[in-house]
C-alpha cells in the first residue's frame, strides 16, 4: 500500500506541474495580455512600458520559470482591480465553491444511486423507463438553462426560494439542483449499467441460491462490487462540477472562485484569472488523488498493478 500511495502522490505532483504548464501556455501563447489591457489608441511606448512592467519582454523560458516559482510560493501577482495579491482573493472564495459543488454532489448521489439501482432491478419495467428518460433528458440540458428555468418557475412564479446570493440552506437549494442534475443523470445511467453487469456474475447467483433476500443480494453483494466504476465517475465528475460551478455561480450570483474568474476575464485582471484557474484545477487534481487512494483501499487488486 505504501508503494501505491507513493506512486499516486508522485503522479499527482507530475499532473500538478502539467496543469501549471497548461495554464501558463493558455495565458501566454494565446495572445498578448499587454495589448488587450491597453485601450485601442495607446501608443507603442505605452505598450512597451506595460510589457516591461508585466515582465512580458523577457524570454519565454524565463517567464515560465518565474511563473512556476510563483505558483510554488503562491505568488500570482497583484490583482489590477482589487490592488491585492491575487491568491488570497481566490482562496477566500474557495469555500463557497466547494460548498456548492459538495451540495450538488450529495444531491446527485442521493438521487442517482437509488434511481440507478431501481432501474437495474426492475429492468425494462416502467421504473427503468422513467429513470432512464430522466437520465437522457438531464444529460442534454445545459446547466445555465436549467438554472434560469428554475429561477423563473421556483423563485419568480412560485416565490418559494430566493434567486441569488449565498447564506442559508434556502439559497443553496436551486444552485445545487442546477449543478447536480447533469451529474445525477450520468451517474444514474452508470449505476444501472454497472449493476446489470454484476447481476450476471456467478456469485450473485450463488447468493440468491443461498436463499438471501433480494435486497440483501442487491445492496450487500451487487452494489458493493459495482462500486468501483461508480466511485471513479464520482471522482472524475467532481472536476466537471467545479467547471459547472463557474456557470452556476454566474447565474445565481454565488460568490465563488468561478464567478470571480469570469468577472476577471472581462476586466482583464489576468493575475486573478490565472490564480482562479490554477486553484480550481489543483483542487480537482487533489480530489482525484483522494479517489485514487480510496480505490486502493476498496480494491486490493488495484494496489498491486
Amino acid at each position: 500500500m505504501v508503494g501505491y500511495v507513493f506512486r499516486k502522490v508522485f503522479h499527482t505532483a507530475f499532473v500538478a506541474f502539467g496543469v501549471a504548464t497548461l495554464v501558463f501556455a493558455a495565458l501566454r501563447l494565446s495572445g498578448d495580455p499587454a495589448a488587450t489591457m491597453l485601450p485601442g489608441d495607446a501608443s507603442v511606448d505605452e505598450l512597451v512600458a506595460l510589457r516591461r512592467q508585466l515582465g512580458l519582454d523577457r524570454p519565454l523560458w524565463l517567464q515560465y520559470l518565474a511563473f512556476l516559482g510563483g505558483a510554488l510560493t503562491g505568488d500570482f501577482g497583484t490583482s489590477f482591480r482589487h490592488q491585492q495579491p491575487a491568491l488570497p482573493l481566490v482562496l477566500e472564495r474557495l469555500p463557497a465553491t466547494l460548498e456548492l459543488a459538495g451540495a450538488a454532489l450529495v444531491l446527485a448521489v442521493a438521487l442517482a444511486l437509488p434511481l440507478g439501482i431501481l432501474a437495474a432491478v426492475y429492468r425494462g419495467r416502467i421504473v427503468d423507463v422513467v429513470a432512464m428518460a430522466f437520465a437522457v433528458v438531464g444529460q442534454a440540458t445545459p446547466y445555465f438553462w436549467m438554472g434560469i428555468m428554475l429561477i423563473l418557475v421556483v423563485s419568480v412564479e412560485l416565490g418559494w426560494l430566493p434567486t441569488s446570493g449565498r447564506g442559508g440552506v434556502e439559497r443553496l437549494i436551486l444552485p445545487a439542483i442546477t449543478l447536480g442534475t447533469h451529474f445525477a443523470a450520468s451517474l444514474a445511467r452508470l449505476t444501472r449499467t454497472s449493476m446489470l453487469e454484476v447481476f450476471g456474475q456467478q456469485f450473485v447467483t450463488t447468493a440468491r441460491a443461498k436463499g438471501l433476500s433480494e435486497w440483501s443480494v442487491v445492496l450487500g453483494h451487487t452494489l458493493k462490487n459495482a462500486a468501483v466504476p461508480i466511485i471513479t465517475l464520482i471522482g472524475l465528475q467532481f472536476g466537471t462540477l467545479l467547471g459547472g460551478a463557474v456557470v452556476t455561480e454566474t447565474i445565481f450570483a454565488w460568490p465563488g472562485v468561478g464567478r470571480l474568474a469570469v468577472q476577471s476575464v472581462f476586466v482583464r485582471d489576468y493575475p486573478v484569472v490565472q490564480a482562479g484557474v490554477f486553484v480550481l484545477a489543483l483542487t480537482f487534481v487533489a480530489i482525484n488523488l483522494l479517489v485514487d487512494l480510496l480505490y486502493g483501499v476498496l480494491d486490493p487488486r488495484i494496489r498491486r498493478e
Partner: protein, 297 residues
C-alpha cells in the same frame, strides 16, 4: 475462430438494415441541420434587425401575441424564431468544425502513439492525463481571456477539448489491434507502416471514431452555448443559442419565452444527438456487438 473473421462476415448484412434506434433520433438531427442550412430562405425575419414597436411580444398563442412573430420577440424586437433558426446555423457549424478538427487530430495522434508505442506514446499519455485533470471550461476561460472571444478562437478551444477523448480511445484500440494476426501477417508480408495504418487499422477503429464524434457534437454544442452564455463565445449581434440566453437571463421575469425557447432548442438537439450516438454505438461498434454476443451465450 478468429474474431476478425466473425466480425467481417455479417457486417454488410448488418449495415443494410439501419435499426430504428438510429433512424428515429436521426430525423430531428437532420431536421435541425436542414433548418440551419436553409436559414436565409426559411427564417421569416432578419435575425439582426428588430422592430422596436414589437419589443418583447409573447408567443402567438398568448393574448398579446403577434401572428407574424410565432415565438415572440426579444428586447430589441427581433423575431425569436428567426434568431433560433440562424442560431442553429452558428451553433451547429461551430460544433461540427470543432468536432471534425478534434477527432481527426486526436485519432491521428492516437493511431501513431498506439502503433509506435515508445517515447512518443509515454509523452502523449502524460499529456492526456494532464488535460483530463483539468476542468475544460477553465482552460477555455484562460485561453479566451487572452485571445479574446471570437468564433475562430472558439472552434480551436473546443477542438482542444475534443481531441483528448479520441486520442485516448484510438490509442487503446490500436495497442491491442496491432498484435492481431492479420496485422502481424501484413507486417510479415512487407507492408509499409502507412499501408498498415490506412488499410488495416483505420477501418477497424473508424466506427468507434464515428460514435465518439457523434457524442462530441452534442457535448460541444453544450460547451459552446455555455461559453457564449458566459460572454466568452459568440458575440452579439451574431445569433447563437447560448448568447441569446445570456441576454434573456437579464429580463427573464418580463419575457420567459426569450429564455425558454433557445434552451429548449439546445436540449432537443443535444438529446437527439446523444440518442443517435447511443443507437450508432449499438449498431456499429464491434465491441458492443461482441459484448451483446457474450450476453446471449
Amino acid at each position: 475462430m478468429s474474431e476478425a473473421v466473425a466480425l467481417a462476415v455479417p457486417a454488410p448484412a448488418r449495415r443494410r438494415n439501419v435499426p430504428w434506434t438510429v433512424v428515429l433520433p436521426a430525423i430531428p438531427v437532420l431536421l435541425a441541420v436542414l433548418l440551419a442550412g436553409l436559414a436565409p430562405w426559411i427564417a421569416p425575419h432578419s435575425p439582426i434587425s428588430g422592430d422596436l414597436a414589437l419589443r418583447l411580444k409573447p408567443p402567438v398563442w398568448q393574448e398579446a401575441g403577434n401572428a407574424d412573430r410565432l415565438l415572440g420577440t426579444d428586447l430589441l424586437g427581433r423575431d425569436l424564431l428567426s434568431r433560433l433558426i440562424w442560431g442553429a446555423r452558428v451553433s451547429l457549424l461551430i460544433a461540427l468544425a470543432a468536432t471534425l478538427i478534434g477527432s481527426v487530430a486526436g485519432s491521428i495522434v492516437g493511431l501513431v502513439a498506439g502503433f509506435y508505442r515508445g517515447t512518443a506514446d509515454t509523452v502523449l499519455t502524460k499529456l492526456i492525463d494532464v488535460q483530463l485533470a483539468f476542468p475544460f471550461v477553465l482552460l477555455a476561460i484562460a485561453v479566451v481571456a487572452v485571445a479574446g472571444p471570437s468564433i475562430g478562437v472558439l472552434v480551436v478551444v473546443l477542438a482542444i477539448g475534443a481531441w483528448v477523448g479520441h486520442a485516448r480511445i484510438v490509442r487503446g484500440l490500436v495497442l491491442s489491434l496491432r498484435e492481431r494476426d492479420y496485422v502481424q501477417a501484413a507486417l510479415a508480408l512487407g507492408a509499409g507502416t502507412p499501408r498498415i495504418l490506412v488499410r488495416h487499422l483505420v477501418p477497424e477503429v473508424l466506427s468507434t471514431i464515428i460514435v465518439l464524434a457523434t457524442f462530441d457534437v452534442g457535448r460541444i454544442i453544450i460547451l459552446e452555448s455555455t461559453l457564449s452564455f458566459l460572454g466568452l463565445g459568440v458575440q452579439p449581434p451574431t445569433p447563437s443559442w447560448g448568447s441569446d440566453l445570456r441576454d434573456a437571463a437579464v429580463y427573464v421575469r418580463q419575457a420567459w419565452w426569450t429564455a425558454a425557447f433557445p434552451g429548449f432548442a439546445i436540449m432537443l438537439v443535444v438529446l437527439a444527438i446523444n440518442l443517435l450516438g447511443d443507437g450508432l454505438r449499438d449498431w456499429l461498434d464491434p465491441r458492443t456487438v461482441r459484448a451483446r454476443g457474450n450476453e446471449r451465450t
